[in-house]
Amino acid sequence: MTSSRPIIIIGGSAGSLQAIFKMFTGMQDINHIVIILVIHRSRGADQGLEEIITAKTGLPAKEIEEKEIPVQGCLYVCPPDYHLLFEKDQSFTLDYSEKVNFCRPSIDVSFESGADVFGSSLIGILLSGANSDGADGLAYVREKKGKTIVQNPEEAQVPYMPLQAIHRNIADHIFTTAEIRSFIGELRK
């Protein structure tokens, strides 16, 4: 894995969709980067989250299919009720094993698997949410030399999840959505 192709995994739960809309709405394109969204949502509900994201942000979004290899320019959305893992060839694996932190998909699971495959090319972003999923995984991203960003809890609709990461002192940056947005823009250079 070369560091020329950064990969962003964004994890979020309650209140994270608003943050995602703010980050991406009006962004010209994301052709310089692969972005993967692992968002807690009730299964069955929110079918077509990718359509909503495209409608709100104007960016192409699609639900992840197993074995697919992600390409730049698209927001990839993890389907409800599956964990998302990564293979060495960077393809997606969907996994229906036990819930982790009462969640499927679990953000920890995707951060950990992503860190194993992408190492220092991985940027883990943890957004608003009401449980502690994501903090362990983010610590592992950091251990594998990836970058870690946590949404500023003062701005997060539900600050509990970002605070778990901040209390463990594993965030490289604590950013507002506006700051995350310009951080992603900067990666273009």
Binding site: E66, K88, T93, L94, D95, Y96, S113, V117
Partner: protein
Amino acid sequence: MVIISDEEIDLLLDDMLEIYGYDFTEYSKASLRRRIQRIIVNDRLTSFAEFRYRLKNSNDYFTHIIEEISVNVTEMLRDPGFYRAIVEKVIPVLTSYPFIRIWHAGCATGEEVYSMAILLKEAGLLHKSLIYGTDINPAALDKARQGIFPIGQLQQYSRNYIAAGGKGDFSDYYTSSYQLVKFDESLARKMVFSTHNLVTDSSFNSFQLIFCRNVMIYFDKKLQDRVLQLFDSSLEHFGFLALGTKETIRFSPIASNYSQLGREKIWRKKS
């Protein structure tokens, strides 16, 4: 936490193949890594070497690994929209057969087998049906044979049952005691459970309907194609193949001889 490298996973896969004849080399590595790490944590092992030593030197420990490495998460009538399509589009076709044979490949603890038995019973077809449930994991099959499940998920199952178009009262199919429910023996009488390894074992009968849901997501493309060929050779003409929500036959060699039922993950063999 004990972190396992890719090379170490390959060593384990070689051991399992050479010593025990189980071939996991075409399974998803990312998924296997999680399963193995989970076993190491649960068994409080302190190193990869300790795990490998036990694997190589104890039959019992290998059995334990098979039980833990296979994903046994399943539920009754999962994805009610899917089961509604089974009730409305598949079962009416089965009615015309004098004898109905169904195969649930990778059935784990059998919840989906019981689901199907209930739907067949409500269609008045169970008496002339035989449902085969197979899995790589013998311990899971023992649970399936007993038809005893934890009570915790029953509320969800009842909701699934109603959403799938169940005609009766779901509670008529089980009796509960304390934390467990036992499903009606009359359902189990129409089931046969047996170990079967999709990687190495061949076809053992012909069927009008095969279920294999959330099993092939753990296989690589080559193995997926091979397993789909196995299903193809086990399906009668005009038989049905039912897969998990995120699975497809679209890119496989058998695709051209199948047509999909609407948007559901159910395909019908053309000839």
